[in-house]
Symmetry: C2
């Protein structure tokens, strides 16, 4: 080190004086980690858990492109295309539509940070983990959080929601369209109109369902809708989709307090995403390659057509359910109309440890399937068929693997 220093100070003269002093009075005490001298090696896996799903080849290619600047006009063009793609998959004309530079949780926080002020009444439908998370964030903000709790595998009926609206007079209701922890598909027809009758806004999580199940943001009166990149869209995690109705926008723009986050402040983001008429101002550095991949994933669903994507997921689900029943497995969600096509929950078969089964399938077939999450932990296996992973061939692969796992894994006497 001393040698380097000497050379540097000769070459650079007095301007390096500050550094030279700093370097002379300190040493590198933490050496270079050996583990980083090895090459990066990523195993090849079929991801049939609750997400992330595998990347579509075209999306993957976009992830390997060189970056340009976040304020370059070509990047603004890509952002505009992403907005249009989100408007299409959400079926909305909301001008306030954009991508968040973070995962699904980050989009949920963006929604709640901007919509709720301390003291606001917030009604949360809980029928799995996602309502719990929304409630947790609502409490951190200082909202008055009211839970509507349903048993795992259940959904929230219009009547139950109306009771909650009457009792708690919330400014916002949270529902999860695709409850990926329980495998339930929450119906959405009529909920928006009901909320609006009680002057409440409707916020819906479609992270695990978007692209696989019909959703019509405007027609169903959903005020705030968010989703993720890493499920049906087959893009890498790290960006999420978010849109606000004019009613929701109005609540945000008439708040009395600033939202607690600058990173997720919708007024800044709206400008940065070209949702107002003003020139775009730098706000934060967007995940450039993440936006490339999101753009490509939206382009793929545009190419396929939304309705064809819905059909593909519905048919693949039906095929999976048939094969699971042939294996003697029981679907966790009893009402067939409430089964989420992306993520199928299967009751852990009697006598087995779910970990043995998921490990077997991973170790012998390089296929990921998952156990439960939060309230469903220990109770279910979860099989995900999302986007390009939703094929009959993959159903055959995973059910073949399951068949073998059921034969080979230890079965404890009951």
């Amino acid at each position: 080190m001393l040698r380097v220093l000497a050379v540097a100070s000769v070459a650079l003269g007095p301007q390096a004086a500050g550094w030279v002093r700093t370097m002379a009075s300190h040493q590198l005490l933490v050496g270079p980690p050996e583990a980083l001298r090895k090459p990066l090696s990523i195993p090849s896996r079929l991801l049939l858990g609750p997400g992330p799903a595998n990347l579509a080849p075209r999306v993957r290619a976009a992830g390997g492109l060189q970056v340009i600047g976040h304020m370059h006009k070509e990047m603004h063009q890509i952002m505009d295309e992403i907005k249009q793609g989100i408007q299409y998959v959400f079926q909305t004309r909301n001008p306030l539509t954009l991508a968040i530079s973070g995962s699904g949780h980050c989009a949920l926080e963006a929604a709640l940070f901007n919509l709720l002020e301390p003291g606001d009444s917030f009604l949360v439908g809980v029928n799995g983990i996602w309502g719990q998370r929304a409630a947790d964030i609502g409490e951190r903000i200082g909202a008055r959080v009211h839970l509507m709790i349903k048993e795992l595998g259940g959904h929230h009926t219009l009547q139950e929601v109306e009771e909650g609206l009457v009792q708690h007079k919330p400014v916002l209701l949270f529902l999860t369209q695709g409850e990926s922890s329980s495998g339930v598909l929450q119906p959405l027809d009529g909920y928006g109109r009901l909320c609006h009758r009680y002057k409440c806004l409707l916020l819906v999580d479609s992270v695990a369902s978007l692209g696989a199940v019909p959703i019509y943001m405007d027609q169903q009166g959903i005020d705030v809708l968010y989703s993720g990149s890493q499920k049906v869209l087959n893009a890498p995690p790290g960006t999420s989709l978010l849109s606000f109705s004019d009613k929701a926008k109005n609540k945000i723009y008439t708040r009395k307090t600033k939202p607690v986050s600058f990173y997720l402040d919708i007024k800044w983001l709206a400008n940065f995403w070209g949702c107002d008429d003003k020139p775009r101002i730098y706000h934060h550095t967007t995940p450039i390659t993440g936006l490339y991949t999101l753009r490509e994933s939206l382009a793929l669903i545009v190419e396929q057509g939304l309705e064809d994507s819905w059909r593909q997921h519905r048919e693949t689900m039906a095929y999976l359910h048939g094969r699971l029943q042939e294996l003697g497995l029981r679907l966790f969600v009893k009402d067939p109309a409430l089964r989420l096509p992306t993520i199928t929950t299967v009751a852990v078969p009697a006598g087995y440890d779910w970990r043995d089964i998921t490990n077997y399938v991973m170790d012998h077939f390089d296929i990921e399937i998952a156990g439960g999450l939060g309230p469903s932990a220990g109770k279910v296996l979860r099989i995900g068929l999302m986007g390009c992973n939703a094929t009959r061939e993959n159903v055959d692969r995973v059910t073949g693997a399951l068949r073998e796992a059921l034969q080979r894994c230890p079965r404890h006497k009951l």
Copy 2:
């Protein structure tokens, strides 16, 4: 659409009833956007602005890999390697070291959300835009924010900081090592000890300086340090680096209130990043490919060696400064010891509109250089030489482009 529906309900029977009703009572009103039918095309640019910098080829390759699950053991291994890489570039042994799933601003929020509670006194060094941003976030949290304002191009002396500590008794001081809006390098020797004498923690932003300028987190007594992926590390934006000393950790773990963000709650993240002894619990889906690229960028700096990277940036800066002076341009930061090697600020030459110059260089050479930001807007041009972009060849390219721009751009009589 009706045809598809008919086929679907024949094929699937009653279980699709809910959907079929939903689809029958709604229509796709928002058509597929034409812009997304065109292929994605990314221009090739030399990014010599304040960031993002170009990706190193090995980093870029990692961005194009297939994803695995965020909870797979190989991913935990990659996260462990990232932690070790951050400990090396930060020169720290802090166990509470991790990457944030968001940009530099997100890391700043992670630091402030966790360290500050409402009512806490927060002292902010402002000598450009980054102190302003830290102050903005501090105010959103409800801290009592006190600004120490220096003129643009200046830095905070030990004496000034001591006066601020005496006057405001802060729990936290914010300083920016590399003020990328003004081009100032803030010295850091002695500041940590000074803060600790007054029971204050020291938070430092090294987004624009890490890897180019010596920093010794532990030896310099820095309690919280963060940086970004998209500058010297040559990785895509979207992840950031963050570490907490034991003192800082202690403040976090004895808070009375929960931090307002779940996404950035350090207690959750510490577990998720294996910084405690408990089994890792799912918290959010990490940006898998973003972590691949961050891992590779850290591997590259390990391969090169920190001191060699510092030398490279110092020498390239000196070469750039010489060439700029040959062009008759004036460096904005007067004291040579305070010039940031990554981002050089050049006074806008008299008679020119800075936009003409940056546009000329972009349009004729596909090279990005930038104007000012925040308080420096209109006053400076900014030239960035970061990581693999910090070469003499790039200095020759950008100064050649500047020479031509100065000849061709309109010069207004003074």
